[in-house]
Amino acid sequence: MLFLQQGPAQTTNYMIAGYTVIFGVILFYVLSLYLRHRNLKRDLDTLQELENKTNT
């Protein structure tokens, strides 16, 4: 299947699949980092408000 007479094998689909995985997973991870950061920031703000309230 690999050794075609007329030029290289038609494996473009596999290449697309591969790069989809690469960029997809990286994006997914970066998104996860962003969401976690945002949630923690919110928690921090809430907690700091609470702390100020209990101090005053």
């Binding site: 030029g7 290289p8 596999y14 790069y19 995985v21 690469i22 991870y29 921090l44």
Partner: protein, 232 residues
């Protein structure tokens, strides 16, 4: 650690640009491989991802040793961050390797030393994460994580060696020859330069994501401490 350091923002930009350049090189600068066609282009980022996976492994072991010696919380955060990032990138490497293997070797998987060792490394990472999940006390979690990271890191070369010897003494009898012999290709200079550049780019990606993840870890610690304080 609340305001984002300017250096990190710069690093973000540089990394994104580098990745864009590398992608352009892969799709427009490198030739189409004569035998296997376009799927070979997966190889540039595939190896780079595997490289990041191994970097992270080393980083987590070093962070582990550092934590055991100094007891400083930051080292534990570095260790955890390295493992998390490397789980992701090693997974990408394994999956893209499989995608490349299918048309080239006519199989999704083979038990050769590198693939097998990569799979085992990923399992060691997973075990590390499971270990940490099962521990409440943060200090104990850090200590055990450090110990396991060190053990894991040292076992991997031995694992690779054992499977290597396995393969040399008992060559594959079923099938024509060692599948990794098929599908090898000589790299033209364009390919080589793109390959080396990809390695560089992904090292940048590793550093950038590591920094972000470490900041996240410190933020999480801060929230935990504040939680304890406020709920008392």
């Amino acid at each position: 650690m609340e305001t984002k350091p300017r250096l990190l923002t710069t690093l973000d930009f540089v990394t994104i640009i580098l990745l864009a350049v590398a992608t352009t090189l892969v799709f427009f600068f490198t030739p189409i491989e004569a035998v296997m066609g376009n799927v070979q282009k997966v190889f540039y980022f595939h190896v780079a991802n595997a490289w990041v996976g191994m970097l992270g492994f080393m980083a987590s072991a070093i962070a582990g040793i550092a934590y055991l010696r100094t007891g400083k919380r930051s080292w534990d955060i570095v260790g955890m961050a390295s493992v998390e990032i490397s789980v992701v990138f090693l997974l990408i490497a394994i999956v893209t390797g499989s995608i490349w293997a299918r048309p080239v070797w006519n199989t999704w998987w083979t038990w050769d030393p590198r693939l097998t060792t990569a799979a085992i490394m990923e399992l060691i990472y997973a075990a590390y994460l499971l270990l940490r999940q099962g521990i409440e006390d943060p200090d104990r979690r850090a200590r055990f994580g450090a110990v396991y990271a060190i053990l894991g890191f040292i076992s991997v070369p031995l694992t690779f060696l054992s499977i290597r010897i396995f393969r040399t003494i008992h060559p594959v009898v079923i099938g024509n020859s060692d599948p990794s012999a098929q599908g090898s290709f000589d790299m033209s200079s364009a390919m080589l330069r793109t390959f080396m550049f990809s390695l560089l780019v992904f090292s940048f990606i590793f550093a950038d994501l590591l920094w972000h993840r470490i900041r996240l870890g410190h933020l999480a610690d801060k929230v935990e401490q504040l939680k304890l304080k406020v709920t008392q």
